[in-house]
Every structure is written in C-alpha cells, then in structure tokens.
Symmetry: C2
C-alpha cells in the first residue's frame, strides 16, 4: 500500500465541489467515479484509506483517461482529514432515523452547493464504502445529507453511478443549455411567403385534379393540409423538393416552377 | 450466440419508457444499465444484436440482482424491430450536424416522455454501441435526440452512466420528494417559551458572572446569542442538555432546574 496522507492546508477555496470516497474497495469504482466527475467538470477527488492503496491500475483503466487528465487524487487516512478545509459537507446516504439533519435531493443539493460556493465556501460530497455505506460517525461529521429518490424495492446505487448523479446535477445547476430546441444545422425554416406559394400551387393542382368533392370539403381539407405541412417547419430546400414531387406526380414538367 | 428475435406485437402501451441498447458489446455495461434502470423504476430492457449473445453472465453479475428482478430483456435483430411498437423514440447521442432534429436535455426529454405517455404513447430511449455510438441511419429512425450537457474536453459517457442519467431524470420528472427538508426523527423543535426560559436563564447567569461589560454591549450580545442559538432549531432534549451544561459550568448544581 503506497498510501500517503496529504495536508489539506494547501487547498484553496474552489469554485467546484470535491468528491470524497470513504474507504473505497474496488479500483473499478474509483475509476468510474473519476470518469463521471470529469464528464461534468469536477476534478478534485479525495480518497480516504482506499482498500487497495494508490495508485490503482484498475481505477486508471476504468477511468477511460479521466485520472490522467485530472490532478492526482489526494489520499487521506481519515474522513476528518479529508474534509478539514471544507465549509459545507454533504453525506450521500439513505435517510438516517435517529439524527436531526437537513436532507437534500441531488438536485437541491447542487443548488445549495452553488450557494455555498457563491459565498466562497468550499463544498464536498462524501460517498460511503461499496457494501456498508457511511457509518453514523461519518455522517455526524457532515452538515447535510443527500438522498436520491429511488425505487424502494431496489434502491442500492453503484458507487460510480452515485457520483455521476451528483456531478450531473452540479453541472445542470449551472448550465444554460436550452432544455429543448430544434437543431436546424445550416438551414432555416422557409419564410411564410414560400410556404404560401407552395400551398397555393398544391391547392390549385388539387382543384385541377378534382380532388375536392364539394366547396365545403375543400375548405376543410385545405386547412388540414396546411396544418399538417406547417408542423414540420420545412426548409426552403424541402419546399423545393415538394414542388418537384408535385411536378413529377402530375407528369407536367413544364409547370415546375423551379 | 443464443439470440432470438422477439415479436413486439404482444407489447402493450406502457406507462414507463423502455431502454434500447443498440449492439452492446460488454456484458458489464448491459448489467450496469439494468441496475440503473431498476434503481429508478424502469424495467423494459431491449437489446439489439448484443455482441456476445444472451444470456450473458457478466451482465447478470454486474446487475447486482436487477436482471433477476426485471422481466427478461427482449432481444431483436434490428433497431427497426426493437422500436416497432413505439410512438416516440429518443436517440441518445451528441448533436448531429446535418440533420434537422429536436434536441432535448435528459431533463427536458423526461418531461417530453411524460407528456407522450400521458397521451398513451409508448416511449423508448436508444443508446449506441460503446465505442462508436449511434450511426446516422439509427438516428434517422428516431424522433428526437437527447444530449447531456457535459465537459466539452471529456464528454464521452460510459453506457451504464448514460442510462442512469435518463432513468434518474425519468423518476425525478414524476417525483414529489421535497428538494430539501430537515429530518427531525421523532423529535420536534422546542416551543418558543422553552427557548425563552433558556435564554433568560442564560442571560441571568451571564449577568451574575459579569460577562457583559456595559449595558449597550449587553443588549447587542444578547441579540447575537439569541440569533446564534435560534438557528439550529433546538429540540426540547437539546435545550435540557444546554441547561445541564450551564449548570455544570457554573458548578452550582442546586440551580439546575431539571
């Protein structure tokens, strides 16, 4: 075991939370946690007494390069040492029955962490051992608890998955990505006059083909056709394609306005 | 390879989305995906041409029992077959450059999926191969794209982690858990008169001990003490403990009101 305690004194207040793994057992889980951290921009990983020491080849392999791109994890003998420089520490655990503690969802915890960091406080999230989780003495060292809502019949999360959930929520809390938009690439929806020209041509061709039985039916059908073809927000190119299709179908190349 | 195509005809509209893994390679990733699904209440797993066939012992081991508790995954030869019964299919992939597609964050996609399911539509999320992801022909079969905001310098998510993010957001979209609350266990904050009795005793003891230099300082200090000790919302038991501490400190057991 090449385990070496690091003094937290040199650590400055950071604008991102750190992740603390309490006595992690499987190198694979450390690696998966590191990958999930870096996926969402977290880079301060602290290990309390990892079972197999450090460095750990299984962790490096499982991290898909994340451990090479992050500052090296810092190794501590005790949880007290690992959180010594922090101002607000979350314990990720199920709800305890016999402690008075603030309980957060991962989403609310990420917002709380943002508030703490805005106030120049350093924030950490502590994750327990794979099988046994955090003990009450560990939890008592923390200021609050994060519990994810899960399926009550199958609630045990993999360590790497737990870290991902927190890291993901941390990024989402500061993210300005539009929740939903339509990727248009280099193209642009056709302007209304392009659509109107198209509809008028289509309607005129349908009139010629006696598609509409009665004037009443015609009005309703035209409305339906417009509704249907407005929905996909066609591009200029797509409208040209439809013009081409109409021309091809009526076999009247002279009428093709392109 | 014991691979067997399943007809989707028998599948009824479900009130949860299904997860479709496109040509997954590592059994471990299938197992991690299954565990993440069941953690958040998803149970319909579909595999398109898994590299190592099915069943797969590595998947079963990695699922921590999830694959035993879920209906067996259904195996399909093609993505078309796997999504045949669905009405709205999300492709999880980076933003494509040359397709017009609706793009969702996992969070917005979960809300969209809820809307679809409310309208009795069956919804699926397709996840690509570990190394190469989804091809454009796969994406073209889907109605929309889900892209998670990630660290642009390290954006490649593990397959199981990607599934977790979707499953977690699905549960969160329907979850009513309070984002933040204080777990009080069986206890309850002390009533105001209990606190007031305590503060008056403490102030009187401090007066006796000549703690306050001047009346002006006294008023300010008392305010500060009250502020400080109101913040933790002490319980009756904790107030009794503080009374005991004061008594012990002044060494005057007779005055202990307990």
């Amino acid at each position: 075991m090449s385990m070496q305690s690091t003094s937290p004194k040199s650590i400055h207040t950071q604008n991102i939370p750190c992740i603390i793994l309490m006595q992690p057992q499987m190198g694979e889980n450390i690696g998966a946690a590191a990958r999930a951290m870096l996926n969402f921009g977290l880079t301060d990983l602290r290990l309390v007494a990892p079972r197999d020491g450090w460095p750990n080849q299984a962790a490096i392999d499982m991290s898909s390069g994340a451990l090479d791109k992050m500052p090296p994890p810092r190794i501590f003998d005790t949880l007290e040492d690992a959180i010594a420089d922090l101002h607000f520490v979350f314990a990720t655990t199920a709800r305890p029955r016999d402690m008075i503690k603030d309980i957060y969802t991962p989403r609310a915890a990420a917002l709380q962490a943002q508030e703490n960091i805005h106030q120049k406080q350093s924030v950490g999230f502590v994750f327990g051992r794979e099988r046994t989780g955090l003990e009450n003495t560990d939890i008592a060292l923390c200021h609050a608890i994060v519990t994810a809502p899960t399926n009550p019949d199958f609630s045990s999360l993999n360590l790497g998955q737990s870290v991902l959930m927190i890291a993901y929520e941390w990024l989402m809390a500061s993210d300005t990505t539009l929740g939903h938009y339509t990727e248009m690439g280099d193209s642009f929806p056709a302007a209304n006059n392009v659509m109107e020209d198209f509809f008028q041509r289509l309607e005129s061709e349908l009139e010629s083909a006696r598609f509409f039985r009665t004037p009443e039916v015609a009005a309703k059908m035209k409305r339906n056709i417009r509704n249907m073809l407005q929905r996909p927000r066609l591009t200029d190119q797509e409208v040209r394609t439809l013009h081409g299709i109409i021309s091809a179908l009526i076999g009247n190349k002279e009428k093709n306005r392109l």
